[in-house]
């Protein structure tokens, strides 16, 4: 009995681990790509940017704050029609990537904006003095200099997406967090709870270690 339950526990958890990785990977990828655009617009239109545009900056900034203040669990439900439109269904691991991505975009946009705007202003001025165009300054100076800081932001994003993905379990997304709640909490299987928690702790630690290593290497 013990052996059988252990074997099924391993397969349940392995499957869940795969689902977590799947959700976190895709939502990170999509949100970083999409979030980069508002981050760039904010950087360029900020008061200290290349093209200060108070109105654009304030409106975009306000929108990002609005979306960031939505509780994830509510966003999850609100976007169901949109999820259905994009994925074709509202339930499942793939479907949960949509709300995860949507909640991550304003988060990562703000983080990347901060990373970009931390670029030394003098360096930007130097680039200007050599006749660099705005697009060159954006990519060859702002982005180039901010890579380690943006990477730090992505690590932060991955770790918080691991947390959010547990909630995605409630729309049938599965994943480690879902197993911890359904088996560990609702069915009183403490061993599931412990193992799931340990996996999440180790996972976050590994991500953070990789992040720290890359930060050092890149800066």
């Amino acid at each position: 009995m013990g052996i059988i339950s252990n074997a099924s526990m391993t397969s349940v958890i392995l499957k869940a681990l795969w689902q977590t990785l799947y959700m976190v990977f895709w939502s990170t990828l999509f949100s970083v790509i999409i979030g980069f655009i508002p981050a760039v617009v904010l950087t360029l239109t900020a008061p200290d940017g290349l093209h200060p545009q108070k109105a654009v900056y304030e409106v975009l900034s306000f929108l990002i704050n609005v979306f960031r203040s939505f509780p994830f669990i509510i966003l999850l439900v609100l976007v169901i029609p949109f999820t259905r439109l994009v994925v074709g269904k509202a339930i499942g691991t793939t479907a949960s990537i949509v709300p995860l991505t949507l909640s991550a975009i304003p988060f990562i946009a703000r983080i990347m904006e901060n990373a970009l705007r931390e670029t030394n202003h003098g360096v930007i001025e130097a680039a200007k003095s050599f006749g660099a165009s705005d697009i060159q300054i954006l990519f060859r100076v702002y982005v180039k200099e901010s890579v380690p800081r943006m990477l730090n932001g992505v690590i932060l994003l991955i770790i918080s997406l691991v947390g959010y993905s547990a909630m995605a379990g409630t729309v049938g997304g599965g994943g480690i967090g879902d197993i911890a709640i359904r088996f560990g909490y609702q069915q009183y299987k403490t061993d599931y709870l412990v193992v799931c928690s340990l996996i999440l702790i180790v996972f976050v630690q590994i991500i953070q270690m990789i992040g720290n290593y890359l930060y050092k290497k890149l800066s």
Partner: protein, 323 residues
Amino acid sequence: MITITNVEKSFQGLRVLKGISLSIEDHEIYGIIGQSGAGKSTLLRCINGLETFDAGEINIDGTIVNTKNKKDLRALQKRIGMIFQNFNLLERLDVYDNIALPLKFWGIKPKSKESKERILNLIHLVGLDEKIHAKPKELSGGQKQRVAIARALVLNPQFLLCDEATSALDPEITKGILSLLQKINKELGITIVVVTHQMEVVKQICSKVAFLSDGRVLSEGKPEELFIMPANKEIKSFLRDGSEQLPKTGVNIQLFFFGEGSEEPVVTQMARELKEDFSICWAKLEDFRENVYGSLVLNMKEEDKERVCEFLNKKNVHWEVLD
């Protein structure tokens, strides 16, 4: 040649440049000196279009600086290199790539044989052969400024603008950077415009200088003319080092010696001829590029003043009575 005519500029109602006019000849090292807030850096930034100005004109070899025409401005910026107080290197690029950066802005391949040769030559010129692949954080301040100088020269500019380029460096390192600038001026024939608040910079390298105060040019000329016998009160107070403790009694007369004048033993001759004793209470020798200029202050009795002045005039010595 850079001709600046009646340039005016305000920041939010505050007039920073109040009708500046000056001209910078080719192959000169031109100094713009003044207290902080005098508008020197703003003026420098107007020359290469980093800053806009409200009125007046800046003409560079027939091209008028116009920040509205981006294409022309970029072409102009290509001809004008610039270095900064804080070096402004990209932290994530090594020495080679930092120097190569302006090439990339102009679509020139930094790895091509020609570019490589050019960059390596510049690295050699600034004396950083050992540091080609070092990152800025591994370099000292002086080395960083050398990288910045090489970077500013990579596009073969005619002009080099230096914005307080030595202000963050200690005196010994400053000397090294200044002689490098002098070498660049002589060997490459590049016209250099130096903005600084440091007298040493002007004295060591500038062939001409403008003294800026409160957005105006107070005086323009050779540094030795401007600073050895400053006619202007404000320049005088800028130069005063606070160590001049002159006697309160009697009369103090300051004598100035330029070139040949300094070889004649005027003071001892005067003492013998007038049969009077003077005390020398202050003296100073100053280097302006290769020339030495001296001045000293004599203290004497009130009644001797007239005879002394007469004697000095006869000897063609520049003098003035200090109050």
